[in-house]
C-alpha cells in the first residue's frame, strides 16, 4: 500500500508538470491558432536561466529566471512572430518558424552550457509520510501547479483579458472585427505562456535533471495532455495531464518502461480518430 501512495505522489508530480506545460501551450494555441513549438524553448530557457542565476541568488533565482523567459518571449513575439503574422504567413509557416526558434535556442544553450546534464540547486532533503518518501520540491511542484490552475481559471473567467481570450479562441476573425486587439492579446498570451513554461522547466529540473533538449520531450507531453481534453481550453488541461501521467505510470508498472511512449501515443491516435475535438469539447460548438 505504501508503494501505491509512492507511485501516486510521483504520478501527481508528473501530472503537475504536464499541467503547467499543457496549460501554457493551450493558452498560446487559443490565440495563435498554430502549433507554437517555440513555446518549448521557454521550458529550457527558464531552467537554464535559473541554473545560471541560482549561482548568485540561490532559490530566489526563480523570479529573475521566469522574468528572463518572459522577456525573451515578448521580444520574439514582438519582433519575429508578429512580423510573420503581418505577412499573413500560413499556420504551417508559423509552425516551422517556431520550430526554427526552438532549435536555435537549444543550440545556443548547448554552446554556452554544453549538452551535458546539469543539476539545479534545490533542497534535496526528503521527508517521510507514513513511509512514503517525498522531497520538498515534489510538494512545491504539486502546490504550484494547483495554484496556477486556480489562478489561470480565475483570469480566464473573471477578467476582460480572459473574455477576450475566449472570444478569439472561438472565432479569431469575428473577435478582430469586434475590435479585440489580437496583436496585443497575442503578445500578452505568449508572455504568460512563456512564464508558465519557464516555471515548469525550473520545477522539473529541480526534481530531475536538465539538458538543452528538455523542452521538446516535455512539450510533446504537454501538447498530448492538451489535445486529450480540448486544445482550445486551457482551463481543463489538468484533466488531460492527469490521464496522461496515470497511463504512463500504469504502463511502466505493469508492462514495462519501454512501452511508456508507445501507449501514450496510441491513446492519442485513438482520441484523434474517435474524438478529434478532445474528450471534453462539446461537439455542438465544434468549429467548422
Amino acid at each position: 500500500m505504501v508503494y501505491f501512495f509512492q507511485i501516486a505522489i510521483d504520478t501527481l508530480v508528473l501530472a503537475s508538470v504536464y499541467t503547467l506545460i499543457g496549460t501554457g501551450f493551450a493558452l498560446r494555441y487559443s490565440i495563435a491558432k498554430y502549433l507554437d513549438l517555440g513555446y518549448g524553448a521557454h521550458i529550457a530557457i527558464g531552467a537554464y536561466a535559473y541554473f545560471l542565476f541560482s549561482e548568485y541568488f540561490g532559490v530566489v533565482a526563480i523570479l529573475p529566471a521566469v522574468i528572463f523567459s518572459v522577456t525573451v518571449a515578448y521580444a520574439s513575439e514582438r519582433f519575429y512572430f508578429a512580423k510573420l503574422e503581418d505577412k499573413k504567413s500560413s499556420p504551417m509557416v508559423m509552425m516551422i518558424a517556431s520550430l526554427g526558434f526552438m532549435t536555435l535556442v537549444q543550440a545556443i544553450i548547448a554552446i554556452f552550457f554544453t549538452s551535458s546534464v546539469q543539476v539545479l540547486h534545490t533542497d534535496a532533503s526528503v521527508i517521510k509520510i507514513y513511509d512514503v518518501v517525498v522531497t520538498y520540491i515534489k510538494i512545491i511542484t504539486i502546490a504550484v501547479a494547483f495554484s496556477a490552475v486556480i489562478l489561470l481559471n480565475l483570469v480566464f473567467t473573471k477578467t476582460k483579458f480572459g473574455k477576450h481570450l475566449i472570444a478569439v479562441s472561438d472565432n479569431k476573425d469575428l473577435a478582430q472585427t469586434s475590435g479585440i486587439p489580437i496583436k496585443k492579446l497575442s503578445i500578452i498570451s505568449a508572455s504568460i505562456a512563456a512564464g508558465v513554461a519557464a516555471l515548469s522547466g525550473i520545477l522539473y529540473g529541480m526534481d530531475t535533471i536538465i539538458t538543452p533538449f528538455i523542452g521538446l520531450s516535455l512539450l510533446l507531453s504537454g501538447i498530448t495532455a492538451a489535445i486529450l481534453v480540448n486544445i482550445q481550453d486551457p482551463k481543463k488541461v489538468y484533466i488531460g495531464a492527469l490521464i496522461l501521467a496515470v497511463i504512463q505510470s500504469l504502463v511502466i508498472w505493469f508492462i514495462g518502461g519501454m512501452w511508456k511512449d508507445a501507449a501514450v501515443f496510441l491513446l492519442l491516435i485513438v482520441i484523434l480518430l474517435l474524438r478529434p475535438e478532445g474528450l471534453l469539447r462539446r461537439r455542438g460548438i465544434r468549429q467548422v
Binding site: 508503494y3 508528473l14 549538452s115 526534481d207 535533471i209 505510470s249 511502466i252 508498472w253 518502461g257 511508456k260
Partner: protein, 363 residues
C-alpha cells in the same frame, strides 16, 4: 576596358595562386620522410565532451613525450569534434581524410566507428579506437584499445552468480544497441532468479526504483548510459533507506563518473557498490604528469588516450601496410596496462570486480 577586366584577371590569378599553393601543401603532407599527420577524432562537445577533452590532453601529452626520444619524426596533430554523433562524425572523418589528408586516426566514438567501419577499411588508414567496435570486427586496419565488450559483462554475471542473491533486478535501456547486448549477455550468463527493467528517463527511473524496492529485490545490476544510470541510482538510494540493496555496475560507472557525481551530489552514496574494472598499468605517474600539465586530474579513459596515440605514432611507417602490421604486433606497457591485441585487433586485457570505497573507484 582594361579597368573593367583588370580586377577580374587579378581575382583569377589570385584564385589560381591560392589553389596551387594549397594543392602543393596538401600533396607534400603525409608523404615526406620523417613527417606524419594524424588526427584525434573525439567528442569534444555533448555528453561525452569532458571525456573527449581529457583524452585529447593525454594524447597531446603522448606526442610530446614521444618527440623527446624520437626528435626526427615530425608529428602533426589535427583535432576534430564528432560530439559522439554519427552525422557529425562522418562529416569530420571526410574532412580529415579528404581535406586534411591525415595518415592515421585515433578516436573513441562507437556510433561513428560502427557507421564508418566499411569506409575506413576501404581507405586503409590505421584507425586506433578507444571506443568499442560493435560491427565488422576482424583482422583489418581498425584496432580497439579496450577489450571486447561482452566479456566483462559475462564476467560480472558470473561474479553476481557467486553472491547467492535471492532476487536480482537488471536495469538497462533498450534504446542503445550496445546496452541491449550487455543486458542479453548478462541474463544469459546469470543463472539465478532475476527480472529485467527498462529505464529510459527520469520518470521510468522513478517508477522502476519504486517497483524494485517494493518487490523486495536484494540486488540491482545497472547496465546503463551516463544519464539513466545515475538517475535510477539516485531514485533507488532515496527509497532504499535501509541500504538493503547491493549494487553492481558495469564499466559505465567509471566512464560516467562525472555524471554520477553531478546527479548524486555525493559519490559516497556509491560506497560498497561493486563495479567492473580493468586491470590497468600504473596510472600514478601518468596522473601526476597530467595534473601538473593541465592543473586537473585526468578524466576517465585519459590513460587510454595516451597509450592509443602512442601506439599510433610509434608504429608509423610510410608504407601503410607495414604501419598497420607494426600496430598489430606492438607490445608495450603504458598507463592503461599492457598493450597487446588478438588476431582481430581487439585489445587483450584482464578484468576484475572492485568495491567503491570512500566515494572513489580505486584498484
Amino acid at each position: 576596358m582594361i579597368k573593367k577586366i583588370a580586377p577580374v584577371v587579378l581575382l583569377i590569378a589570385l584564385g589560381v595562386g591560392l589553389v596551387s599553393f594549397f594543392s602543393n601543401k596538401v600533396s607534400n603532407e603525409g608523404s615526406s620522410e620523417g613527417y606524419v599527420k594524424v588526427a584525434l577524432l573525439l567528442p569534444l562537445s555533448g555528453p561525452f565532451g569532458g571525456i573527449g577533452e581529457g583524452i585529447k590532453n593525454a594524447s597531446l601529452m603522448a606526442v610530446e613525450d614521444y618527440k623527446l626520444t624520437n626528435p626526427n619524426l615530425q608529428v602533426d596533430i589535427v583535432v576534430e569534434d564528432d560530439s559522439f554523433e554519427v552525422v557529425k562524425g562522418i562529416s569530420a572523418y571526410n574532412k580529415l581524410t579528404t581535406v586534411e589528408k591525415v595518415a592515421g586516426i585515433m578516436m573513441i566514438s562507437t556510433p561513428v566507428l560502427d557507421a564508418l567501419h566499411e569506409e575506413m577499411k576501404e581507405d586503409g588508414l590505421p584507425i586506433v579506437s578507444i571506443g568499442l567496435q560493435s560491427e565488422g570486427v576482424g583482422p583489418d586496419n581498425i584496432f580497439q584499445t579496450t577489450l571486447a565488450p561482452i566479456a566483462p559483462i559475462e564476467f560480472l554475471a558470473q561474479f553476481v552468480d557467486g553472491k547467492n542473491h535471492q532476487k536480482v533486478a537488471v536495469i538497462y535501456t533498450n534504446t542503445l544497441p550496445a546496452i541491449n547486448s550487455f543486458h542479453d549477455a548478462f541474463v544469459q550468463n546469470y543463472s539465478k532468479s532475476k527480472a529485467s527493467f527498462v529505464v529510459t528517463d527520469a520518470q521510468t527511473a522513478r517508477n522502476v526504483a519504486t517497483k524494485i524496492v517494493s518487490e523486495n529485490f536484494d540486488a540491482v545490476v545497472i547496465l546503463q548510459d551516463a544519464v539513466a544510470g545515475p538517475l535510477v541510482t539516485r531514485e533507488l538510494k532515496t527509497l532504499d533507506t535501509n541500504n538493503e540493496l547491493t549494487y553492481y555496475y558495469d564499466l559505465q560507472l567509471a566512464t560516467s563518473w562525472t555524471e554520477y557525481k553531478k546527479i548524486l551530489g555525493d559519490t559516497n552514496k556509491l560506497n560498497d557498490s561493486y563495479t567492473l574494472s580493468i586491470k590497468g598499468g600504473d596510472t600514478s605517474a601518468f596522473a601526476q604528469q597530467y595534473e601538473i600539465k593541465y592543473g586537473v586530474p585526468p578524466t576517465p579513459f585519459a590513460e587510454y588516450g595516451y597509450d592509443s596515440t602512442l601506439l599510433l605514432i610509434k608504429g608509423y611507417d610510410q608504407d601503410t601496410t607495414v604501419w598497420v602490421s607494426n600496430i598489430q604486433n606492438d607490445r608495450f606497457v603504458g598507463p592503461s596496462g599492457e598493450m597487446a591485441f588478438d588476431e582481430d585487433g581487439v585489445r587483450l586485457q584482464e578484468i576484475e570486480v572492485i568495491v567503491v570505497e570512500n566515494g572513489t573507484i580505486s584498484q
